[in-house]
């Protein structure tokens, strides 16, 4: 059995101008020890789809579908059962380390409070664990750092502190929402190595959200590409990035600068803008920006179907199908 099975996840948010569908029927599974990558442009529903798993959506949002974890549907938990899963089984790291730590509470407090709540550990034991975790995420002088406040650390250190906090209860699944986006490249590499090590050493599964395909290729086992609230393509990272099948995936890759290319090849920007959730086009949501769109694309949304071993694709045309 998979660690997490998400089926037909839909999220609607009631706003001032009526209800909009942010996530429009998403299915995926995450295995133990797997780094499951989620990529896509801003506004494609990546973040909302994982916030839904922990019921952390803003007020006015409604969810449907299922997210089975340990035989229970995460979307229907409440009260004590929900709090037990939050933090203890599924932990989350947010995008901006500058805002995801409480500015007026000590690091020690923020790393130990939930350990005490979940495991009934003594203050001393919880702080000792916190110091170990800080050492594990390579924060120098952990004992002293326990008494420090977030503003005394740099962005990269804060993000590692946040990761230490998420890992303090030894969760089975870590949801990392753009954990390295706000950081510079060297720090980013350190954090990715840390996640990779934890995955290998303790079988931690990670849902890694990023719009950076470079980050994705270096750590994710499996990638799902989000577009306009749906998964348009998914598959094993190497395969998917080397032979993309969906025109959108292909366009994303073409838009990446190549590090050894000296700028002679033009970067190919994707024409147009990603659609706002308020006005998604009928049919395949990508068709107004797609050079390969056919009549069917404008009428009917393509279903996500298996196209070879472990690969899924939602495209009527499939212009890059390997000749077989």
């Amino acid at each position: 059995m998979s660690l997490l099975e998400v089926e037909e996840l839909r999220v609607r948010i009631r706003g001032e101008r009526g209800e909009v569908t942010i996530v429009d029927g998403v299915d995926y599974t995450v295995e133990e020890g797997q780094v499951f990558g989620v990529a896509g442009e801003s506004g494609s529903g990546k973040t909302i789809s994982v916030l839904a798993l922990l019921q952390l959506l803003p007020r006015g949002a409604s969810t449907s579908g299922r997210a089975i974890y340990g035989g229970r549907d995460l979307l229907r938990l409440s009260g004590r059962a929900l709090r037990r899963v939050r933090g203890r089984e599924l932990a989350m790291v947010f995008q901006d380390p500058l805002t995801s730590l409480h500015p007026m509470l000590t690091i020690g407090r923020q790393l130990s409070e939930h350990v005490r709540v979940h495991e009934g550990a003594s203050k001393r034991a919880a702080l000792a664990r916190a110091a170990e975790l800080l050492a594990e995420v390579r924060i120098p002088d952990p004992e002293r750092a326990l008494h420090a406040f977030p503003h005394q650390f740099s962005g990269g250190m804060r993000q590692r502190v946040a990761i230490a906090g998420a890992l303090a209860t030894r969760p089975k699944l870590l949801i990392a929402d753009e954990p390295t986006t706000a950081l510079d490249v060297t720090v980013q590499a350190g954090i990715l190595r840390l996640l990779d090590r934890l995955r290998r050493e303790s079988g931690l599964a990670v849902i890694l959200i990023t719009h950076d395909l470079g980050v994705m290729s270096s750590i994710a086992d499996h990638v799902s590409i989000f577009y306009a609230g749906r998964i348009v393509e998914s598959g094993p990272t190497k395969e998917l990035l080397s032979t993309p099948r969906h025109p959108y995936t292909r366009a994303l890759l073409d838009a990446l600068p190549h590090p050894v290319d000296d700028g002679r090849a033009d970067l190919l920007a994707i024409p147009g803008l990603p659609p706002s959730p308020r006005s998604r086009p009928a049919g395949c949501a990508f068709h107004p920006r797609c050079a390969y769109a056919i009549d069917a694309s404008r009428v009917q949304a393509p279903p996500l179907v298996t196209v070879g071993a472990a690969r899924l694709l939602a495209c009527h045309v499939d212009p890059f199908a390997s000749p077989s």
Partner: protein
């Protein structure tokens, strides 16, 4: 990344070399500013009281004495009113530095002595009133915020708006009419019923003094006398604190770190009390500082209506009789309260928010 720097250098007060402690320096700077502020206040108070139209001699001497130039002259000489203004100010500051606020023209008693008897009465009333306002106002503010846009929130909005828009004197009269005159649940005026004798003064707070001496009945009566004026005085501040606490809490709850706390499985109750309130505290503290100012202003009206023998009544009496030394004494006392409260608020900001301590 700060790899090369040791973390110790980043933590105030913990590094080995101990540079001048930022927090102590912050306190010292504030303190010096206070002294200058105090001096400035004496000048302003002095000028305002002396430039106000009206003749103290006319206000304090009887009808006969005013017509007698010798009596007027001796009155002026006695209170130094025959000297020039700068001279008068110089004498005033000199005496003030020696703890002498002059003699009140009405009672012919040292102003310090009079303040000493009136301040504790006001302090007892004002502190209780602020305590009520903080507990109720902050509580309702939190409640309104977590029930945002629901019925509780709307009801509390009306309640707090009523609180801030109702004139205190009118409230005082209505409260007296209903709870004293109509229902007779609570005593109407004064600090004690006549059958009780004042407890021996230690703190000057009748409730506490009576308790210290084991006079339970007296303590109970003193407490009953406090209820109406303290509540009337608190109502405005309750409204104010409810509104500001609600706004401060709402500003905090949408922060990432609150969502992060929720993602860690910490209970909602704990999140509100330990995480949200902590971050909202600086804004709430500012309003609590304002509450002290409101109570000082409100006391003048409330003490007069409830015949409460405090600073407010003293101020009113001194103002209507143009008793300059007494007016100056009251102004100075009020100014000192403002200064001390502001200083305390500033220091508490630093205690609450570690980021202020370093900058």
């Amino acid at each position: 990344m700060a790899r090369g720097r040791s973390l110790g250098a980043l933590i105030p007060g913990r590094s080995r070399t101990r540079p001048p402690r930022p927090f102590l320096r912050f306190l010292a700077r504030r303190f010096v500013a206070l002294l200058f502020l105090g001096l400035g206040i004496t000048l302003v108070a002095f000028l305002l009281t002396n430039l106000a139209p009206g003749d103290p001699a006319a206000a304090n001497l009887g009808q006969r004495a005013i017509e007698d130039p010798a009596a007027v002259a001796s009155f002026r000489e006695r209170y130094g009113l025959d000297k020039s203004l700068p001279e008068q100010y110089g004498i005033y500051v000199w005496r003030l530095a020696h703890g002498d606020l002059g003699e009140s023209q009405q009672a012919r008693l040292p102003v310090t002595e009079e303040l000493g008897t009136f301040i504790p009465a006001t302090a007892e009333l004002a502190l209780l009133s602020i305590l009520i306002a903080v507990v109720v106002g902050v509580g309702l503010g939190i409640l309104a915020a977590i029930r945002q846009n629901r019925l509780t929130d709307h009801v509390l909005r009306v309640v707090s708006l009523t609180g801030v828009s109702m004139p205190t004197f009118w409230l005082a009269l209505v409260a007296l009419y209903i709870f004293f005159f109509r229902l007779n649940w609570l005593p109407g005026t004064g600090r004690l019923d006549p059958q009780f004798s004042e407890p021996e003064h230690r703190t000057g707070f009748f409730t506490i003094d009576a308790l210290l001496q084991g006079e339970w009945a007296t303590a109970g009566d003193a407490a009953r006398h406090l209820v109406l004026p303290a509540l009337v005085l608190a109502l405005y501040n309750i409204g104010l604190l409810t509104r500001y606490t609600r706004a401060a809490v709402l500003e905090v709850v949408h922060n990432d770190y609150i969502r992060a706390a929720r993602a860690k499985g910490i209970s909602e109750r704990r999140i509100v009390l330990r995480h949200v309130l902590r971050a909202a505290l600086p804004s709430v503290l500012t309003v609590i500082g304002l509450a002290f100012a409101n109570v000082m202003t409100g006391a003048v009206l409330v003490e007069n209506i409830f015949a409460w023998p405090g600073i407010g009544q003293y101020a009113y009496r001194s103002a209507t009789t143009l008793d300059l030394p007494a007016i100056m004494g009251v102004s100075l006392f009020v100014a000192v309260v403002y200064i001390v409260v502001n200083f305390a608020v500033d220091v508490l900001y630093g205690v609450i928010d570690p980021r202020i301590r370093v900058s």
